[in-house]
């Protein structure tokens, strides 16, 4: 496979480390430390960490360019064809959602 790195162009997949579902970007936030051990917090983290979609089809996933520029990427891939539909820097994706939350 080849991954179209937004900064470096097409790179061989062997340069990357795969992590999984890009929903890992959406880490629950705990504003009040007193809530750290609450059931609601535990449930939120359990869902965040353990419950993932595993679609046969279009999937947003995290790849790390470990043998390259160390960018974490959000790759949109069709798991049935390996066609890569989109590739973005994770910090841009995460930054956009952070911006959305803060407004």
């Amino acid at each position: 496979m080849q991954i179209p790195h937004p900064l470096l162009g097409l790179r061989d997949a062997s340069e990357f480390v795969y992590l999984g579902d890009a929903s890992l970007l959406n880490r629950p936030s705990v504003d009040d430390p007193a809530e750290l051990g609450s059931d609601a917090t535990l449930d939120a983290f359990h869902e965040y960490l353990h419950l993932r979609h595993n679609p046969a089809g279009v999937h947003k996933e995290l790849w790390f360019h470990e043998q390259g520029d160390r960018s974490w990427l959000v790759v949109t891939r069709d798991t049935t064809t390996h066609e890569i539909l989109d590739c973005a820097l994770a910090r841009d994706v995460a930054g956009a959602s952070f911006g959305a939350e803060s407004t």
Partner: protein, 995 residues
């Protein structure tokens, strides 16, 4: 007499005679021969034995599809099994040996299997070796293993070298037959970057094997001159002896180039190269493979594919027989007869299964029996064909029978992604279909265009259509396609000769029609498979072994499908093909490994003091990719324990130095560095003053401990984190994840500096004196530079350095870092400066002993299944902030007070030697899993205490100090009574650290 079967013509170099041997017999051939053509030239018809029945077998084909003629090439460690004689180029001194026989090739003792063939039908093994059960290991398996397999491995290390490489192209063309050459010519002229791969040593494909004309020139000559002009184009790379074996995602192709196999043993260059080719577009022009017809005893030596017969006559100047008969269902059979007659080879019969008049001119075939709507019903001849029998009982003499059942396009590579071939009735075969690999198109015979003129135009057009999509390329210079006539190619599906009537039934069990020669799969086996319920095509393959082994059914698959269709009352397209997977032809494991074997299997990382350590008697140990000094033996020391005890004792009483460069170092800078550390560590770092170091524990998001280490606040907004050696890479990856994916708004930057700094632990009561001799003008007194202090400073007259007052050993200790290139010099300086202080270098073993004596954790304790609380650091998990893993570390299961906790263990019998891996069982309880209370994670002999000590996890350990339990090791049959104690065996109050 040698080369008895040579005839005029061919493309061999008759001026270059080559000598070789087959089963010890000295023979000669010519440059340009394959081993197969040279064997046939010398009348060697019998070349092998079949897999199961050990039937005598001869050469069937003239290419990669060969099922029978597998031989061993070379001697000693260079002996290669299962080499196809039809592919192996002849070279001077080549040594070939027949395989899969016991005794000589002519008198193979295993031929007894053929007589037992009625018992050895498909599924024989599954049905037969079921009972008695006890027989399996001692009787059946050894017997099967002995008879299994074809060639023998040398069982010696491979003396050759192999390499790997990457290539890039706008257009990859697979196969340099007529379509491939036409494609390459058109593409080459446009200036596109073209790679043309051909598995043969000579480009041209069937052009070399037929008496065709292209652009009014002899076809083989046209192929040669076209190739020459392609080689002269700087944008075209022509790679012969290169098999493209797989089509992978996104236009990536695997190819194997055989660099030296045609010249024998060569040193100094790679024998084979495995290429990974990235091509924007690809034209698959892999040609087609002829298929046989099934009839009784169709496997005798001398029965060959008709196209191969033409190849031997036209390309190699070899007559595969003196009296040749032809059996065909298409016009190719007639072309075969005419080509042979033109070479003055006697044709005894042409048997056409079709009820059609002979196509074309038959004036040259006078004297031959021409049979219309006929069939070969049986053959005779033990080690070589003698005659064939027709349906009316007539026998016709023939030492070679050329069989043509039509051609199968080589769809293989078109199916490596999701392509499924589709059936084309007019050629009675499958052509590429479904979704082809990205960027691939198919041309020529591979696409079912089986005639020459069409194939040439097809190749030309496919190249242009592929390049049209590339914006930077202009097609103006492509020129016109080469032109040639389309030969007649009418084929009528005819798969097998109907079996004889009941009069022959008695002997029928031995009358078999072969479908797959290599695996001895007959028509009967396929019928049996259907009868026993295995009628899906993938099931038939597994049950009968049809299409398995080295040839992967290149000649047999479609014929097998036809027999299956007949037996199960379905059509061939209804049945479909089995899945095609890489590789197209066998790829040696050695080529897949490339240079990555032995010491080069993975990179070896050396510490800065490696050379010094080598000079000073170090024994090394692999730690991940690192080689670290394990201990430094001195003259007179007879055991490693003596050495390690000395290193520990000397360090604890004077001073020791250890290379700790392998620990991961991560440089963290930015105005939000403190905030970032608070979020990735369970404990707090934002309160750490500049010039101070703090021990940190890092959790995984699931709440378990991930890694530990120290982080130094070396300057404003600048921290230096250390990780364990093993986790240097994963922790860095994790921190980048946190920084980029979770908190991109933080101003923080990370660089891994593990290899930028050489770092030494300097430990022991006299370490301060040694450090003071090294530093330029830093006050290292306890008051000025206390425990957990750090500083950027200079040593040895101006050399940049970082000094940390941290201790893994439990002694007064420092870690000193200098740029890596000064690491060797610093080690030598520390040793010379420390000599009068009694300095000693210590290795990882002494490091381990001292950390166990002190109760510090390593990977043995941080297993990914232990929590901060389990290792006694629960209070470090701050409840005042969110951090990675903080929330889930509070899951009830992780806070369970019954969890095993880290404590120390002493043997009650002080002479006993504890073992890591032992499990703790209460006194009097049975040694069973239900009574398991925990495990011993680390043990060492403590020279400080004079007995064996251990660290381990035991249920509610902190509450059980002083209690006695048993450490049971059923694996080694050992058991010791142990006393639970504090994990801090030496200096539990940390007085030495702060001294």
């Amino acid at each position: 007499m040698s080369n008895v079967n040579r005839v005029a013509g061919g493309q061999i170099e008759r001026s270059r005679k080559l000598s070789f041997s087959f089963d010890g017999k000295r023979l000669t051939g010519y440059s340009g021969d394959t081993l197969a053509s040279a064997l046939l030239a010398n009348g060697e018809v019998l070349v092998g034995r079949s897999f199961k029945y050990h039937r005598p077998r001869g050469i069937v084909s003239a290419g990669v599809e060969e099922p029978n003629a597998l031989v061993e090439i070379g001697t000693g460690p260079r002996r290669d099994p299962n080499v196809r004689a039809t592919v192996q180029e002849l070279h001077e001194g080549l040594v070939a040996t027949s395989q899969n026989r016991r005794g000589s090739l002519r008198h193979d003792l295993m031929a007894i299997n053929d007589l037992a063939s009625p018992l050895l039908a498909a599924g024989f093994y599954y049905k037969t070796f079921m009972w008695p059960k006890a027989f399996w290991e001692k009787v059946y398996e050894p017997a099967i293993r002995h008879s299994a397999g074809l060639g023998r491995l040398s069982m010696e290390p491979d003396p050759d070298s192999y390499d790997k490489g990457f290539l890039f192209a706008d257009l990859l063309i697979i196969g340099a037959g007529p379509a491939g050459l036409a494609a390459a010519l058109a593409a080459g002229r446009t200036g596109a970057r073209v790679i043309l791969c051909e598995e043969d040593f000579k480009t041209g494909g069937r052009l070399n094997a037929e008496r065709y004309s292209v652009d009014d020139a002899d076809a083989a000559h046209w192929a040669a001159t076209t190739t020459e002009s392609l080689r002269n184009m700087s944008n075209v790379r022509v790679m012969t002896r290169t098999s493209v074996y797989g089509a992978y995602d996104h236009g990536v192709y695997g190819a194997l180039e055989r660099v030296t196999d045609h010249v024998g043993a060569v040193t100094g260059c790679a024998r084979q190269v495995l290429w990974r080719i990235r091509a924007t577009r690809c034209v698959l022009s892999a040609g087609a493979t002829e298929r046989p017809i099934a009839f009784t005893n169709n496997d005798r030596p001398g029965i060959m594919l008709a196209g191969a017969v033409r190849t031997y006559v036209n390309r190699f100047g070899v007559a595969p027989g003196k009296r040749v008969a032809v059996f065909t269902n298409n016009d190719d059979g007639w072309r075969t007869a005419r080509d042979l007659a033109a070479a003055s080879i006697e044709i005894t019969a042409v048997i056409d299964a079709r009820d059609v008049p002979p196509p074309g001119d038959i004036s040259a075939l006078q004297g031959a029996r021409l049979v219309r709507a006929g069939a070969v019903v049986d053959t005779h001849g033990r080690h070589a064909l003698k005659n064939i029998q027709l349906a009316n009982g007539d026998t016709i003499p023939a030492d070679c029978l050329a069989v043509s059942g039509g051609w199968n396009p080589n769809v293989h590579l078109s199916c490596h992604q999701r392509g499924r071939p589709t059936w084309r009735e007019d050629i009675a075969s499958f052509v590429p279909g479904g979704v082809l690999p990205t960027g691939m198109s198919v041309a020529g015979a591979a696409n079912g265009e089986l005639t020459l003129g069409t194939a040439l135009r097809n190749g030309h057009n496919a190249a242009l259509a592929a390049l049209e999509t590339l914006p930077s390329i202009s097609l103006d210079a492509a020129g016109a396609p080469p032109s040639a006539e389309d030969e007649s190619g009418f084929v009528e599906a005819y798969w097998r000769v109907p079996e004889k009537s009941s009069a022959f039934r008695l002997s029928g069990a031995w009358k078999r029609q072969w479908v797959d020669y290599q695996n001895d799969v007959t028509v009967k086996d396929i019928k049996l498979s259907v009868q026993e319920g295995f009628s899906a095509v993938e099931h038939v393959k597994r049950y009968t072994t049809l299409g398995m082994a080295t040839d992967q059914g290149k000649t047999s698959n479609v014929l097998g499908l036809a027999v299956l269709a007949d037996a199960s009352g379905r059509s061939i397209p209804e049945i479909g093909t089995t899945i095609f997977r890489p590789p197209w032809t066998p790829v040696p494991i050695a080529a897949l490994a490339g240079a990555s074997r032995g010491a080069h299997f993975r990179p070896t990382r050396l510490t800065p003091s490696h050379t010094w350590a080598t000079e000073n008697g170090a024994t090394f140990v692999e730690v991940g990719n690192w080689l670290r000094a394990q201990w430094f033996s001195q003259p007179g020391e007879t055991t490693w324990r003596q050495t390690v005890d000395r290193e520990v004792t000397q360090t604890r009483t004077a001073v020791g130095v250890c290379d700790v460069t392998t620990l991961g170092k991560i440089d963290i800078q930015g105005t939000d560095s403190g905030v970032f550390l608070d979020r990735v560590y369970a404990n707090t770092f934002s309160t750490l003053a500049v010039g101070k170091v703090r021990y940190g524990i890092m959790l995984r998001e699931d709440g378990f401990a991930m890694d530990d280490g120290t982080t130094a606040h070396i300057a404003q907004d600048h921290y230096i984190m250390t990780t364990t050696t093993a986790n240097a890479v994963p922790v860095f990856r994790h921190l980048e994840f946190c920084r980029q994916c979770l908190w991109p708004e933080l101003d923080v930057h990370l660089v891994s500096t593990t290899e930028a700094w050489a770092q030494y632990a300097i430990a022991g009561p006299r370490s301060r004196e040694l450090v003071a001799r090294i530093v330029d003008d830093l006050d290292v007194s306890n008051e000025a530079f206390p425990f957990m202090g750090c500083a950027e400073t200079t040593v040895c007259c101006g050399l940049t350095a970082r000094l940390f007052r941290i201790s893994f050993s439990g002694e007064l200790a420092y870690e000193l870092a200098v740029p890596t290139r000064y690491g060797d010099s610093l080690m030598r300086r520390l040793m010379s400066e420390g000599k009068s202080l009694g300095v000693v270098p210590y290795g990882t073993e002494a490091l381990g002993v001292m950390r166990i004596e002190k109760g510090h954790c390593t990977g043995n304790e941080l297993t990914g299944q232990t929590t901060a609380a389990d290792i006694g650091l629960g209070r470090m998990v701050s409840q005042k902030k969110d951090s990675i893993g903080n929330a889930l570390s509070q899951r009830p299961g992780l806070k369970d007070p019954d969890r095993p906790q880290l404590v120390g263990f002493k043997p009650v019998d002080r002479n006993a030697q504890l073992r890591a891996g032992a499990h703790f069982i209460e006194k009097g309880a049975a040694v069973v899993t239900a009574n398991d209370q925990g495990w011993m994670s680390s043990v060492a002999y403590s020279p400080s205490l004079g007995h064996s000590i251990g660290l381990g996890f035991i249920r509610r350990g902190q509450e059980r100090i002083g209690e006695r339990v048993r450490a049971c090791d059923p694996l080694r049959g050992e058991e010791h009574d142990v006393e639970i104690c504090s994990a801090h065996f030496v200096d539990p109050d940390g007085e030495r650290l702060r001294a």
